[in-house]
Symmetry: C2
Subunit: 153 residues, 2 copies
């Protein structure tokens, strides 16, 4: 449902953005957001409004992860028309603990984009883990069915 | 970023769908989904693929709520172009417990839509609560800043 160039522009934007997360570059992360981005992150708050607030949240998150970070997008599906697109996928998200051991889990990600002056920008982002209905705890041990497809930029 | 008729068509679709949730009508709920819907629900599983699987999940959810249900969409923001749209908002979601007492919380909702044969259908849905980084428990006591705007169809 999206033409080849849009598809590859968005894949390339998200590959660079995921790379910026792994490289812990808050300025590079924030550079892909529209000024009026509204984000639903997986932790802490209901929502973040605006590039500045959400960028500050990213910076705080990164500073809590002193070790190596992983942020690998899989099963990305894009729908686009004109200057609007949305996509969703699963993210294998992890960080090294104080013992240097990598801990990771599958998270869900939905992204809404708008093309502004020829460049795709993220205007909405939603990250989450589902929770257990008895304990209300986030479920970090779920595995997708099948073999999730890694993002190709 | 969406014309008036698209905006009102989508608001009307979502108002009917939210009404179907409150009326506990699984067939009416499922009727708004595209056959290939991919859903990230707030509970239990990473994702649900296809109208049948997701409809069955809705039915299971509704049967776990014997009492009154509330599903009120707020702060809906729509971006659309041609036959593709996405939107996000906060949902005041609740149900009556065994004591008849209503318990509710703010949840986050993102929806992706495609117009098929002239009718908007949900092709992607993402519901969640953020979790606490210490306890990993879903945060049900968060309040949005300001006064969230109720959905007008």
């Amino acid at each position: 449902m999206s033409d080849k160039s849009t598809e590859s522009e968005i894949r390339s934007l998200l590959a660079g953005w995921a790379g910026a997360v792994e490289a812990k570059g808050p300025a590079r992360i924030a550079s892909v957001y529209a000024a009026d981005v509204v984000a639903f992150d997986a932790i802490l708050a209901l929502r973040f409004e605006g590039r500045e607030a959400y960028g500050a949240h990213w910076q705080a998150c990164l500073s809590h992860c002193p070790g190596e970070m992983a942020f690998k997008i899989h099963d990305l599906k894009i729908e686009a028309s004109g200057d609007i697109a949305f996509c969703h996928g699963l993210v294998r998200c992890g960080g090294a603990g104080p013992d240097g051991q990598m801990q990771s889990a599958w998270m869900r990600m939905t992204i809404g984009l708008r093309r502004e002056a020829g460049a795709w920008r993220i205007v909405h982002e939603h990250h989450s883990a589902p929770f257990d209905v008895e304990s209300f705890k986030a479920l970090f041990d779920l595995e997708p069915e099948g073999e999730p497809e890694a993002l190709v930029a």
